[in-house]
């Protein structure tokens, strides 16, 4: 009996391991390999090893630099805004009050929606003629003429940021609310008794408990936003004139629209490296996992 059970865990995990090797680990290696080749989906005859050429081309590609900048401002504005609003909502929703179940259900709902559906709901807000936003803002007297929110060079990026914010806040609220609930109620009482105000309670009581979650959720979100394409592809397609092309969108367009697999793979490798450096330095700076948290 003892002898037999030694093999059980390996047998149980075998299918998963096989799938992970086939469809996750091998592809990751393959991206690196392909990035040194010329590979076009439509012209397979010209496929060849070309060394560093793809990388050299990337560094002199103006679209790449613009995409890098867009990725940066996309990730920073999304993660920061989502965290601030998410934390605010979580702090309110943590209290027990009438109707808190209903409010939670409503406010968390966008979390479950697909990027395409969110694009659609927001496209219906943003459309120049059919969209409702222009009408609302005109009624409030904020703008005088209808604006093509996603087609205009100056407004496209921030229109996307707002739509993505709508979808992203609930993730932070959910995660932070869950971790706020692990804070023992007595600690708040003690802090109150010592004369601590709301800010002091947040800083000295809640914060130590949610720090770990905060670090992890911001990191996961950073990766997630860096890679998120569905909303951008559907609302603007990366335009107008690359104003909303992030690295991930550039990669997706290079792969799907142009079928340029070699160049796309090189873009993927660079994105991966950026994320890796970002994640490693972030975890190090925040001192994550010092007390054996993983």
């Amino acid at each position: 009996m003892r002898k037999k059970s030694r093999y059980i865990p390996y047998l149980l995990m075998m299918p998963t391991l096989a799938l992970l090797c086939w469809l996750l680990i091998y592809p990751v290696g393959n991206v690196f390999f392909t990035s040194f080749r010329q590979e076009m989906l439509n012209r397979p005859k010209q496929n060849a090893f070309i060394g560093m050429d793809n990388y050299i081309r990337i560094f002199s590609d103006p679209v790449f630099w613009e995409a890098l900048w867009n990725s940066f401002r996309w990730v920073v504005s999304e993660v920061l805004l989502q965290m601030v609003f998410g934390l605010g909502l979580a702090l309110i929703l943590k209290e027990r009050f009438r109707g808190c179940g209903i409010f939670r259900a409503i406010l968390f709902l966008p979390w479950a929606l697909s990027g395409v559906l969110v694009s659609l709901l927001w496209a219906m807000m943003y459309y120049e003629n059919v969209g409702v936003l222009n009408d609302l803002l005109q009624k409030l007297g904020i703008i005088s003429k209808a604006v093509a929110w996603t087609g205009n060079k100056n407004t496209a990026f921030w229109s996307l940021v707002i739509a993505e914010l709508w979808r992203g806040i609930p993730f932070f609220s959910i995660m932070l609310l869950a971790s706020l609930q692990t804070v023992p109620e007595e600690l708040y009482e003690a802090c109150r008794a010592d004369g601590g105000g709301a800010l002091a309670r947040l800083r000295y009581v809640s914060f130590p408990y949610i720090k770990e979650t905060l670090v992890l959720t911001t990191l996961l979100r950073t990766i997630w936003e860096f890679n998120s394409v569905d909303l951008i592809l559907n609302l603007t397609g990366g335009g107008p004139v690359h104003k909303t092309t992030t690295l991930a969108v550039y990669l997706a367009n290079t792969a799907r629209r142009d079928g340029n697999f070699g160049y796309g793979s090189a873009l993927a490798v660079i994105s991966f490296m950026i994320l890796l450096v970002l994640a490693a330095s972030y975890l190090k700076l925040s001192g994550f996992g010092k007390e054996d948290s993983l």
């Binding site: 659609l120 807000m125 971790s179 609930q181 792969a255 993927a268």
Partner: protein
């Protein structure tokens, strides 16, 4: 005491105000799409914009379902999501059981591997996966999606299953095994019923993600009759003359399963998922 009560009241009013604002901000896009889906096509483009349909009609739904292709998209999405969910639940339960109930060589390595996979950018893998499926003749086949979704959902759900199973005392299964049950029977008859809430959570979570996935579905499936809902919707947005009413009706159709499932997982999410899953 009086000022304390007054203060409390003020704080509460402020809280409700913030919550109501947040609720309006969250619900308004739903409301607008829903209202538009019930309008006649002539009214949708008309000025001034009407915030409630002058004439209610379900014509858009009938059209989206019959001629807009949404019955097909719906069926495809359902098929892909259900099969992927089935495999995800099976495999992650097996992994979770192995990780929760056994000590073995390579356990730490396996856990680390699961964690690492969470950090791979999905966009990075569209090219190599396309090549793999192309070689296996799975392009424009739903199995390419089912395989991809299963692989991408296992790591997180295996960690979730592990924490669920760890929370159930092994003494019950051991007692059953001492009584002459085989390990497999002990798992089926003793562990499985206790694990059902966990399985439901994993299944709901994985179904929602499969139902929503867009990039791979766009990349690997190329014919209209095989599109899943997100791809079908996005193709409709991209058309030159958009039929807004039909588009809005289509998104409402896509929303129904999500809302139903969400109502179930939502309560569960905050208490179970946040703390348990992250710490693995």
């Amino acid at each position: 005491m009086r000022s304390y009560l007054n203060r409390k009241k003020r704080v509460q009013t402020f809280m409700y105000l913030v919550l109501i604002l947040a609720a309006v901000w969250t619900l308004f896009p739903f409301y607008w799409t829903f209202v538009t889906s019930l309008k006649e096509s002539a009214e949708i483009g008309a000025k001034p914009i009407s915030y409630w349909p002058r004439l209610l009609t379900v014509e858009n739904y009938v059209q989206a379902w019959k001629t807009g292709g949404f019955s097909g998209y719906f069926r495809n999405s359902l098929k892909v999501a259900l099969i992927s969910t089935f495999f995800t639940v099976m495999l992650s339960a097996m992994d979770g059981y192995a990780l929760a109930r056994f000590q073995f060589k390579g356990k730490t390595f396996f856990l680390l591997l699961l964690l690492c996979t969470q950090f791979f950018p999905t966009a990075m893998l569209i090219i190599p996966l396309f090549k793999i499926y192309n070689g296996a003749h799975l392009i424009n086949n739903h199995w390419s999606l089912i395989l991809t979704y299963t692989v991408f959902h296992i790591p997180f759900n295996a960690a979730l299953m592990r924490s669920f199973i760890s929370g159930i005392s092994p003494s019950l299964e051991e007692a059953a095994m001492v009584d002459g049950c085989g390990r497999f029977q002990a798992v089926i008859h003793v562990l499985f019923p206790l694990l059902l809430p966990g399985i439901a959570a994993v299944a709901a979570y994985s179904f929602i993600s499969c139902w929503n996935e867009y990039l791979y579905a766009l990349m690997f499936v190329s014919s209209d009759s095989k599109y899943t809902i997100p791809v079908g919707l996005s193709m409709t947005i991209g058309e030159y003359s958009i039929n807004y009413g039909q588009l809005c009706a289509g998104s409402m159709i896509a929303l129904i399963p999500i809302i139903l499932l969400f109502m179930y997982v939502q309560k569960y999410m905050v208490s179970g998922l946040g703390a348990g899953a992250i710490k693995g």
